[in-house]
């Protein structure tokens, strides 16, 4: 996989930082940016910005229809991006890669086009207590509409899934187990392959929310045997507005279309239509062409670095962050130890509101997130309204963590 100078065995964040123009900026006069909010959205490397810019400057046209050079170039680039994504997660064919707006839309697509035709009142879907709202609300809407029973794998106080309880829930013969590969709050990396194997043994299909996993460590959807796997471009160095639904070809093939319109059809008469082949059947209307091309460039960029190197870098940095934060009196960290989690660290600080913490950190140039991170039930479980969250990526260094810790001492000083 290594093919660029950045692809050393261990990743050199100092070199990588030069690829991200935004990291040069000051957020206040004389105060450089420390970006620790990549779980919300990652920054974008020059290569991605250039790929999108080049599309608009050189090849901009609508895809799949025009018989002219621009349309052919744009179509080739869009489909090349799909092929890159397929290879990146080891899908069997690009036909299994549906471009959506984001993870949320991909989950909704499955809820509408797979779950609605296939589930009946009384059927069970298993979710977990650590889901992002995007993997909760679509199922709540479905449950209310179709009298579907939702069950939840509990989260332990350590931020791990209670897999014994999962065994018991599987006795209900669920039709679907939908869960996150990695928690966006407590950072837990769930034993996804085992959860899927057990779901299959119980006769259920699986949907994996990969929004926090695909950007951060190698994901092989065929090795996992995931039925549906979904993620967003913007958390993995790509632009906003582009996401991915991976589905096993036979499943996608059997599903009715999601949105109706242009592109998703083969033939149309006034009162009927014949849907297009995969994956176009699920891509109604003009898609996010430049964004797909940008995502393709992001996949190239990450592949050049090597996802194993990305994962190793984040493991080391997370361990460092957990150690440094634990030194600060009053910091309370949620989630499992470093070896069971990715680069996401949610914490509370004394009895201070996370808004105050993150606002004062912002004054020091340190960008973290404050709130419930779209996981209100998980915060309720821990009996806290909100947390501050620092999340890391390839461009972060130990110096960034040091700035975070210094910032927290400043918070202490202001509220002393």
């Amino acid at each position: 996989m290594p093919s660029s100078p950045a692809a050393a065995a261990s990743l050199e964040s100092k070199i990588i930082r030069k690829d991200f123009p935004i990291l040069d900026r000051e957020v206040h006069p004389g105060v450089p940016l420390v970006y620790l909010d990549s779980a919300a959205t990652s920054q974008k490397p020059q290569a991605v910005l250039e790929a999108m810019d080049a599309h608009y400057r050189r090849s901009n046209a609508n895809i799949h229809r025009g018989i002219h050079v621009l349309a052919e170039e744009a179509t080739a680039d869009y489909e090349a991006a799909r092929a890159k994504v397929a290879e990146f997660i080891n899908a069997a064919t690009p036909r299994e890669i549906v471009f959506t707006r984001n993870t949320t839309e991909a989950i909704n697509l499955v809820a509408y086009s797979w779950a609605r035709p296939n589930l009946s009142p009384g059927d069970t879907i298993i979710l977990t207590e650590m889901e992002h709202h995007s993997n909760l609300i679509p199922w709540q809407i479905l449950a209310a509409e179709r009298e579907i029973d939702l069950e939840f794998i509990p989260v332990t106080t350590d931020g791990l899934l209670d897999l014994e309880e999962y065994q018991r829930l599987l006795e209900k013969k669920p039709r679907l187990v939908a869960f996150t590969h990695m928690s966006n709050v407590v950072g837990t990396i769930n034993p996804t392959k085992d959860i899927i194997a057990q779901a299959h043994a119980a006769g259920a299909l699986t949907l994996v929310d990969g929004a926090q996993s695909v950007p951060h460590f190698p994901v092989d959807v065929r090795a996992l045997e995931a039925d549906f796997y979904v993620f967003s471009g913007h958390k993995m160095c790509g632009p906003t507005g582009i996401g991915v639904l991976y589905g096993k070809e036979a499943l996608l093939d059997a599903m009715p279309p999601f949105l109706g319109g242009g592109e998703m059809i083969k033939r149309v008469q006034l009162r009927s239509f014949v849907p297009n082949d995969l994956p176009h059947k699920f891509e109604a209307g003009t898609p996010a062409i430049a964004e797909a091309i940008g995502l393709g460039a992001a996949v190239d960029y990450l592949s050049d670095i090597g996802m194993s190197s990305v994962a190793e870098h984040e493991r080391r940095l997370t361990a460092y962050a957990l150690d440094r934060l634990a030194e600060v009196p009053g910091v309370w960290i949620f989630g499992p130890p470093a070896e069971q989690r990715g680069g996401v660290v949610a914490f509370t600080f004394d009895d201070l509101h996370p808004h105050d913490v993150s606002q004062i950190l912002d004054g020091q140039g340190v960008a973290v997130r404050a709130g419930h991170h779209c996981a209100m039930p998980l915060h309720e479980k821990f009996s806290i309204p909100a947390t501050a969250r620092a999340s890391m990526y390839i461009y972060n260094t130990e110096a960034d963590i040091d700035r975070l810790v210094e910032g927290l001492y400043k918070v202490k000083e202001i509220f002393k």
Binding site: H355, D356, Q359, I360, P385, A386, I414
Partner: protein, 133 residues
């Protein structure tokens, strides 16, 4: 940034003057800021000529939302309800004496939204941002 944490804000946050609940009360309203989980309740007692005689707030939130609630509640005591209805965003921001970005503005305005929804006699969940425009 440090301007945001003026002494008055920190002081009011740490030692609020009007924190509590009034039981009984003539007017009570509560609402959340779903963005951050902040929750504010405001109770008022009014006399026969609709003048606020006592006021208190309770709930949880950041320093901006709680300091704002404390200052706001203080400012309505002795005022006729008709005058309370006239309090707008600018009045409150003047009281706080700080400039706020769009996200923190919601923190500051939660208490005003709750106060006005209560004074206008709105039902649960009917408080809207229009009240504080």
């Amino acid at each position: 940034m440090d301007d945001l944490y003026r002494e008055q804000i920190i002081e009011r946050y740490k030692n609020p003057h009007y924190r509590g609940v009034l039981d009984p009360h003539d007017i009570s309203y509560e609402d959340d800021n779903p963005l951050c989980g902040d929750h504010i309740r405001i109770d008022l007692r009014v006399d026969e000529s609709d003048i606020v005689t006592e006021a208190a707030f309770s709930g949880q939130g950041c320093s901006i939302s709680l300091a704002s609630a404390d200052l706001l509640v203080e400012s309505v005591i002795g005022k006729p309800l008709e005058q309370v209805k006239q309090i707008d965003k600018e009045t409150l921001l003047d009281m706080l004496g700080i400039e706020l970005g769009p996200v923190r503005l919601k923190c500051a305005l939660l208490s005003l939204k709750v106060l006005k929804a209560g004074v206008y006699g709105l039902g649960e969940g009917q408080a809207s941002d229009e009240l504080v425009e």
